[in-house]
């Protein structure tokens, strides 16, 4: 489904170029040479917008306030209307002031509702969003009925058109972007602590409320100046989507801020570019689609948190566990024969694993692929042989299992017949360090709760170096026998 979005965005691009095949390169050249005033303004606006949306969006995404931008962008509508009414014309500065006042009022109301009633945060966000917007629509309706109201251009506030940006508006977007960058650089620590641990921020004596308010003000400014370029609904997209993409790619806040701004700028430029190519296509939605494409890519392919890489990691983990279980079964079979003989009869192994011969053969093939085992036919019977590495690994898994069982019975006071399932899981994940600590804690035990021997780490290594003198690990006996 996520691929669908990607597909949509790319077919979109294809369509636009099809439409104007003849002069598409010329168009591209015109765009990148930035000869046109319109292109320069739109591009500059998009870049500034990408920076401030990426920076501030990162903070609201990690604060789980992603829909705050959505709320603000709708709640400023009555402010836009009043700004228009006060100035008597479409004056960017009056509209900016009006919208900021409405944005601040909205912020105050969200917090006040949360503080004084039992109403949850999401509902209070929705209330300010829809309530203010409704009032805004009533005012807009009246403005359109005024003799001067028809050219108010308020519909731009809903869909946005970067190409229609005036120079003043671009300077305002730029001003806000600079303010956002400066504030984030100056108060990075304060914003960071306030975002993740409010209690800690207070204990440090930081006025968390002040910085919170500062952040909200910056956010309100960004939303207000972005409205003209991308429209009300899509401002929140520019805040959330680049930041969420960055959130999937890194665990560090400073890198997230940088990545989110880069993605914001990238989406802005791509949006402006495709909008320019497609002539009548609105800029805002194209910016958002570019941002969503970036998000889809990092959702799927982020090295650490991506869907595909996590799936592959899980697959290889499952493979390792399966191989370790095979090794363990081989150990068990050899143990039941008193470690006599080199190889393990595959038939014994199959009955030990409760599997058919075919299943066991498939298992052994997988183990063989990792290079620790060999399968040979001797006198009509098939045997599996482990090389020293494989034997070491098998002993280690069994040791992990038995140590853990002993730990649970001795230290955690489990019943001996309750510990097996737990140990089955943990045997695959115990590290060397933990094993050493367990051995020390249990005073280097020789037997597990069921009376079976525990192969100890030191013995294993010693015997293996001895066994490596020339031949295979044939003569290798359990050291503590």
């Amino acid at each position: 489904m996520a691929l669908g979005l990607l597909f949509c965005a790319s077919t979109e691009a294809a369509r636009i170029s099809d439409l104007q095949e003849t002069d598409v390169w010329e168009q591209v050249f015109r765009f990148f040479s930035m000869r046109d005033e319109v292109v320069r303004t739109a591009l500059l606006g998009s870049v500034f917008l990408g920076i401030s949306c990426g920076l501030l969006g990162s903070f609201i995404v990690v604060r789980k306030l992603s829909l705050f931008g959505d709320t603000l962008s709708h709640a400023v509508l009555p402010g836009v209307a009043v700004g228009y009414l006060v100035a008597g014309e479409k004056d960017p500065f009056a509209i900016f002031v009006g919208a900021t006042v409405a944005g601040v009022l909205g912020t105050v109301m969200v917090n006040l509702v949360k503080k004084t009633t039992h109403i949850k945060e999401d509902s209070s966000l929705g209330m300010v969003l829809a309530g203010f917007y409704g009032v805004g629509i009533v005012l807009m309706n009246r403005i359109q009925k005024l003799p001067t109201g028809t050219q108010s251009g308020v519909d731009k506030f809903l869909f946005g058109q970067a190409a229609a940006l005036s120079a003043t508006e671009v300077w305002m977007i730029g001003g806000v972007a600079v303010a956002a960058v400066v504030m984030v650089l100056l108060f990075y620590r304060q914003f960071l602590v306030g975002s993740f641990d409010l209690g800690f921020a207070r204990s440090l004596g930081l006025p968390a409320g002040v910085f919170n308010f500062l952040l909200m003000m910056l956010l309100a400014f960004t939303v207000v100046v972005s409205l003209q370029a991308v429209g009300a609904v899509l401002v929140s997209a520019m805040l959330v989507i680049p930041a969420a993409s960055a959130y999937l790619l890194t665990d560090r806040m400073n890198r997230m801020l940088i990545l989110a701004s880069v993605f914001g700028v990238l989406s802005g430029v791509l949006g402006a570019f495709f909008s320019f190519l497609g002539n009548s296509l609105p800029t805002g939605p194209l910016m958002v689609l570019a941002a969503s494409t970036v998000f889809t890519l990092s959702f799927l392919f982020s090295p650490k948190h991506g869907l595909v890489s996590r799936w592959r990691k899980r697959r290889s983990g499952q493979k390792r566990i399966e191989n370790e279980n095979t090794l363990k079964a081989i150990y068990h079979v050899r143990e039941s024969k008193g470690f006599a003989g080199e190889g393990v009869n595959v038939k014994d192994l199959a009955s030990r694993l409760n599997e058919t011969m075919e299943e066991t053969f498939r298992r052994l093939q997988k183990l063989k692929a990792t290079g620790v085992c060999d399968v040979k036919e001797i006198e009509g019977r098939t045997f599996a042989f482990l090389n020293p590495d494989g034997w070491l690994r098998a002993c280690a898994v069994v040791r992990n299992h038995r140590l853990w069982e002993l730990y649970l019975t001795n230290q955690a006071e489990y019943e001996p017949d309750h510990v097996h399932d737990d140990a089955e899981v943990i045997e695959h994940v115990l590290g060397e360090e933990t094993v050493r600590r367990l051995e020390r804690l249990l005073d280097y035990p020789a037997e597990d709760p069921h009376g079976k021997l525990i192969p100890s780490l030191a013995d294993l290594q010693r015997s293996l170096t001895q066994g490596n003198q020339g031949e295979k690990a044939t003569g290798y006996r359990m050291p503590n026998q």
């Binding site: 917007y133 009925k145 609105p282």
Partner: protein, 311 residues
């Protein structure tokens, strides 16, 4: 200053309050009924939606309906109700599905997932509209503000020969009856699973089924209301009645009753308000119910700001 004097037109009691119920009963009764049905259905269902912290899912659905409508139109080449409805409900269900996928398969939290999904779908919708603009004939004003007034232009269709009403009013009436009926019928599972999913599970109910059923019902209600009130104001209808009522009472049956009263008062006052100021009825209704919330917030017994200040 002249701009301000022109802002509020002259008030005539006769024209605003009397004529809709006498000379012009025919158009205005349908506007009123449509407003009432929308507000009642949204408010009734919204009470549960708000509780379950899904208030903004309604917002998401109402925006992603747009591409659903456009694609349904492009596929079916008609503006018939059925394909439009299917496209919109499909888009709504897709929205909730995508939100869940992103939330479950990555570290993105639900709120961000919501913000990503609905804005992307909305953007796709806007791009589709601007590419196929000439053929789609989708009124962007309608998407944003809704046009309750359009019901007056519809031909009347008769119901079993008993009475006549515009088709969309009938449809909305059926949807609100469906909502009220389903909520009453499944009252217990709905309440228990909203407050205590663990208890619901131990009582043999399946909270996941309740969740998906509620989501589907939400999609149907939002989509049916969409035409009348537009993408954004649906949220007002979903959130305000329930939250206002919950400031006034603690008992769920009473709260549900109050939401219906709010719907009635809101659509009635909204209609007159819109008539007086010559504005969109949907905007007027949401402003009125917003005002009702503010009143309840300030003056409600025990919970209100005033009461708390003087306690």
């Amino acid at each position: 200053m002249s701009i301000w004097s022109q802002l509020i037109p002259e008030f005539s009691f006769e024209q605003v309050f009397v004529e809709p119920w006498t000379d012009f009963l025919d158009p205005f009764i349908w506007i009123f009924l449509m407003g009432f049905f929308v507000t009642a259905a949204c408010g009734f269902l919204g009470t549960f939606i708000v509780w379950r912290r899904m208030a903004l899912v309604g917002d998401a659905i109402s925006h992603s309906v747009l591409p659903g409508l456009v694609i349904a139109f492009l596929v079916s080449q008609s503006r018939d109700t059925l394909p439009m409805f299917l496209g919109a409900v499909g888009a709504g269900v897709l929205t909730t599905g995508l939100i869940e996928v992103i939330h479950q398969k990555s570290r993105i939290k639900t709120d961000a997932a919501l913000g990503i999904v609905f804005t992307t779908l909305f953007a796709i919708g806007v791009v589709l509209v601007s590419i196929y603009g000439e053929n789609v004939d989708l009124d962007t004003d309608c998407v944003l503000y809704g046009e309750i007034e359009h019901v007056t232009l519809e031909p009347l269709s008769s119901v079993f020969g008993l009475f006549e009403a515009p088709g969309s009013v009938l449809r909305m009436g059926v949807v609100s009856l469906l909502v009220v009926g389903l909520v009453i019928l499944f009252y217990r599972p709905l309440v228990v699973s909203s407050f205590d999913p663990g208890l619901a599970r131990s009582m043999g109910m399946n909270p996941a089924v309740v969740h998906h059923a509620l989501m589907s019902l939400l999609a149907i209600v939002v989509v049916s209301s969409f035409e009348a009130v537009g993408a954004v104001l649906v949220i007002a209808m979903l959130i305000f009645p329930g939250t206002t009522a919950s400031l006034l009472s603690d008992r769920l049956p009473v709260i549900l009753g109050i939401t219906l009263v709010i719907a009635l008062l809101g659509s009635l006052l909204g209609m007159h308000f819109a008539l007086w100021l010559d504005i969109s009825t949907a905007g007027a209704i949401s402003t009125v119910i917003f005002g009702m919330f503010l009143l309840a917030w300030a003056l409600a017994p025990r919970r209100g700001l005033l009461w708390r200040a003087f306690r």
